[in-house]
């Protein structure tokens, strides 16, 4: 995190972020587009994710079967993913081979073919991807929780899209989506690794600056009205294990309440990426035998999102008992000020997790682009200091404000035995 970064905006509006790291002969390049599943309307859900798949199907210069081979031949690692708010493509390459990745990304920003046959083949691949996810009770539960939590906002649907839309989306739908959102003024290129900034910026300009700017793409944003009471539902499926998911409406990543809520999450569910055996929920739910697992997470989102707690209930306990225990723990956070040492502990954990992340160049390039999607890189570099300034009063205030039953959805997966 100590290395400074260079930021530039090309003439066509593309944002570039560069960070030199000379610890290994590796460069990681991430290209981010400001488009995700939130930009899809009913009937066209899954467009962003499917477009991401089509970006691997080739251009004239880099035909489908040549793309992946070209990267792999050089020993590179590459992939892409789609979230609610963004779509990102990355290549991590031996340093002297990064040019291939940059040429490829510049080319497919504009020249992907979206061949009709490839669209048909990818339709069944994505349907298969969705069917694989549907095999998992947690996926089905999470999807339903999201639908209950967002009636108006387009965070409503799963990133992969609804099956009905995956069957009917056309090649033209995909291509229109691609041309609308894949323009340089809607993209951020973040590169970290073993390069010299001046010459890297020059090369990026050579490749990307000639791509014409497009019309500023629209972003779909229908604010979700405040929830006025707890929503609770159940769904059934095969198995012997009961799962509960609770989701609280949460502020976006730039809201001043976001950091106190991260401390609160750390107290309730442990630090992300570490074991979680001394958090408040572990002690209350698992040590006491109400559950066999509990975890919590939230996205750093552009618009207000969700904080979710997923509980795997103990086979001899009822889900309602686990929910009551959770409520008691939340009440404690609302009634009693947390100890300053607990906050210090959360900060130390975050410092360690940041240090682990800094070992990895791919990770460092990721963070530059990721933060640019909802804020600026400062969000990342000042995170630990801001976290250290959170007070016990802040934690109590956000516990009272957000952790209200009327602000949550509870979904329960009821297993119907081995046969389903």
């Amino acid at each position: 995190m100590a290395n400074p970064i260079t930021q530039a905006t090309l003439k066509n509006g593309m944002q570039v972020m560069l960070k030199e790291i000379h610890t290994a002969p590796i460069i990681s390049s991430w290209l981010w587009y400001r488009v995700g599943s939130r930009d899809e309307s009913t009937g066209k859900t899954g467009l962003s994710h499917w477009t991401e798949h089509m970006q691997f199907k080739g251009t004239k210069k880099f035909p489908a079967n040549m793309l992946d081979k070209a990267i792999s031949r050089e020993g590179g690692r590459w992939n892409a993913s789609t979230s609610h708010d963004s779509t990102r493509y990355y290549e991590t390459m031996p340093a002297d081979k990064i040019d291939l990745a940059l040429r490829l990304e510049a080319d497919r920003m504009r020249n992907s073919i979206f061949n009709e046959k490839e669209v048909a083949s990818e339709r069944s691949v994505i349907i298969s991807e969705r069917e694989g996810s549907e095999n998992e009770p947690i996926f089905r539960l999470g999807e339903a929780v999201q639908q209950y939590a967002f009636r108006v906002h387009s965070y409503h649907h799963e990133i992969i899209g609804d099956m009905a839309d995956l069957r009917t989306i056309t090649r033209d739908d995909l291509y229109t989506h691609y041309r609308r959102y894949y323009v340089p003024n809607n993209a951020v290129l973040a590169i970290a690794g073993d390069f010299e900034t001046g010459s890297m910026l020059k090369r990026v300009k050579e490749l990307f600056e000639r791509i014409p700017k497009g019309a500023a793409p629209p972003r779909l944003a229908r604010p979700e009205p405040e929830q006025k009471g707890e929503l609770r539902f159940s769904l059934e499926g095969p198995g012997e294990t009961c799962f509960v998911q609770l989701a609280y409406h949460f502020p976006n990543a730039t809201d001043p309440d976001y950091l106190p809520l991260q401390v609160l999450d750390s107290l309730l569910n442990g630090a992300s990426g570490l074991s979680n055996k001394t958090s408040r929920l572990y002690r209350a739910l698992i040590d006491k035998g109400y559950a066999v697992d509990a975890s919590g997470w939230s996205d750093a989102s552009i618009d207000p999102g969700l904080y979710r707690i997923t509980i795997t209930t103990h086979p001899k306990r009822k889900p309602e008992e686990a929910i009551a225990v959770l409520d008691a723990e939340i009440k404690k956070l609302q009634d009693e000020l947390v100890n300053n040492d607990e906050i210090k502990r959360a900060v130390k954990q975050a410092r360690a997790v940041f240090a682990y992340g800094s070992e990895d160049i791919t990770h460092q390039a990721f963070w530059m682009g990721y933060t640019a999607m909802f804020s600026t890189y400062d969000w990342f570099t000042t995170y630990l200091n801001k976290l250290a300034r959170v007070t016990p009063q802040d934690v109590q205030r956000v516990a009272r404000k957000y952790f209200q039953p009327k602000n949550r959805v509870i979904g329960i997966y009821i297993p119907k035995g081995k046969g389903g």
Partner: protein, 425 residues
């Protein structure tokens, strides 16, 4: 655009420091002062191979219990120290070994070593903690019983290695987990946990000699005179003709399949030929030839790839895919066709060159993080590949010829003698 990178980045005899303590424990250290953190990993020969059929899952249960309480500390106190420091430590078990791994900021390495030492030497297996853990393991098995990929994998191992220790799932079955007592666990620990055969690797901002002294201080005095020798693996029975089994699981929307056979051991001379051949078959680019025919050309699956899993004993060479239940037969036919093509014609010159370039080019990426280097060092030590293995690696890869791949493919893959395991509706 790039400037020459001069720092040697491949681990080798010049920068892997090796020491053997008086009790037999081997310590491997590599410094990396670019990172403020350290990674640690290692293993000792206390695996599932020592379990009886009636107590399947015992080694796994013991490994999961080591940090549930020691003579010095309670479960809560162990994890409180660890998590307060943002550090992590965990144990796992396989057929041959119990392994461990952890990481911390460099200032917390003494804490990590102290907890490792206590967990290994003086676990108390507290009754309440064991029962909590048992409930978690049983829930894990109930979830496994609903997972099409896990069920297909498990049945694959059972058919391929019938009568051999590799046929058994190391996490056991509900009835065996129910039958394991605290006494069984204490006895397993007493007989199999000891410093002989134990290896620990540490990578990060540390000075090797100091670390060896630190390990000596916490683990050098560990003596277990009765520590049992590892069993020799029995031979496995080769299968005589293709075997198929389907595990029916209602209410699922996708089926999983595993098709495969026995593969080489990690130390076998043909390992590299098999590995590169496998890259062409089901890894290179978008999951190799298998990915190309099953996913790219036919759109039948989101994932379809092959893998070579080689270790101490016979490995597996397998193709995995997740497909719509209606497409199961079609996917199996396509995969069998690719296997026949592979053993008939081998790989092309271009395919071989592509995979060789990939293997050589990707090596620095796999050694980027401290944990990547820990795995690499443990790998060369465990399979006796030589500390200079990564320095010779490019030559070993380039030495593989098309004829080697073909010969290896024919040695291991017989399209008439496959194990085909499927699970789904």
């Amino acid at each position: 655009m790039t400037k020459p990178f001069t720092k040697p980045s491949l681990p080798g005899p010049g920068d892997i420091y090796q020491a053997v303590l008086s009790n037999g424990l081997c310590v491997l250290v590599r410094s990396n002062f670019n990172s403020p953190s350290i990674s640690m990993g290692g293993y000792l020969p206390a695996g599932a191979i020592f379990e009886s059929d009636k107590k399947l899952g015992l080694a796994d249960f013991v490994a999961s219990s080591l940090m549930r309480g020691t003579q010095m500390r309670s479960f809560d106190s162990i994890y409180n120290e660890l998590e307060s420091a943002g550090a992590s430590l965990g144990f796992d078990s396989g057929v041959h070994n119990t392994s461990f791994g952890g990481r911390s900021l460099v200032e917390d390495l003494p804490l990590l070593l102290k907890l490792l030492s206590e967990s290994l030497q003086t676990p108390t297996f507290p009754k309440g903690e064991i029962e909590r853990l048992r409930a978690q393991l049983l829930t894990g098995l109930a979830i496994r019983a609903q997972d099409t990929a896990e069920l297909a994998d498990m049945a694959f191992d059972q058919m391929l290695f019938d009568g051999h220790p590799y046929a058994r799932p190391s996490d056991g079955f509900p009835q065996t987990i129910q039958s394991i007592t605290r006494k069984d666990m204490q006895e397993f620990h007493r007989l199999h946990f000891g410093p002989r055969g134990m290896v620990i690797a540490i990578v990060g901002a540390v000075h090797p000699r100091k670390i060896v002294e630190e390990v000596e201080r916490v683990l050098g005095g560990w003596q277990v005179p009765g520590q049992q020798e590892a069993y020799a693996l029995p031979p496995h029975r080769p299968i005589k003709k293709t075997i198929k089994r389907h595990h029916t699981l209602a209410g699922k929307s996708q089926s999983d399949l595993v098709i495969g056979m026995v593969g080489p051991r990690r130390k076998d001379p043909e390992y590299m030929s098999a590995s590169i051949g496998n890259s062409v078959l089901g890894q290179f680019g978008m999951m190799g030839r298998i990915g190309d025919v099953v996913r790219e050309k036919s759109g039948l699956a989101y994932y379809a790839y092959s893998s070579l899993n080689s270790g101490t004993g016979p490995g597996t060479w397998e193709v995995n895919a997740g497909v719509n239940p209606a497409n199961l037969k079609k996917a199996i036919d396509l995969i069998e066709r690719e296997l026949r093509r592979f053993v008939k014609h081998g790989v092309t010159k271009q395919e071989l060159a592509d995979s060789q370039a990939n293997y050589i080019g990707r090596l620095p990426l796999s050694l980027e993080s401290n944990s990547g280097v820990v795995s690499a060092i443990l790998n060369i030590y465990r399979y006796d590949l030589g500390l200079d293995y990564y320095l010779k690696y490019a030559d070993l890869v380039r030495a593989v010829k098309r004829a080697d791949v073909l010969e290896t493919a024919r040695k291991y893959i017989d399209p008439q003698r496959l194990v085909i395991s499927t699970a789904g509706p």
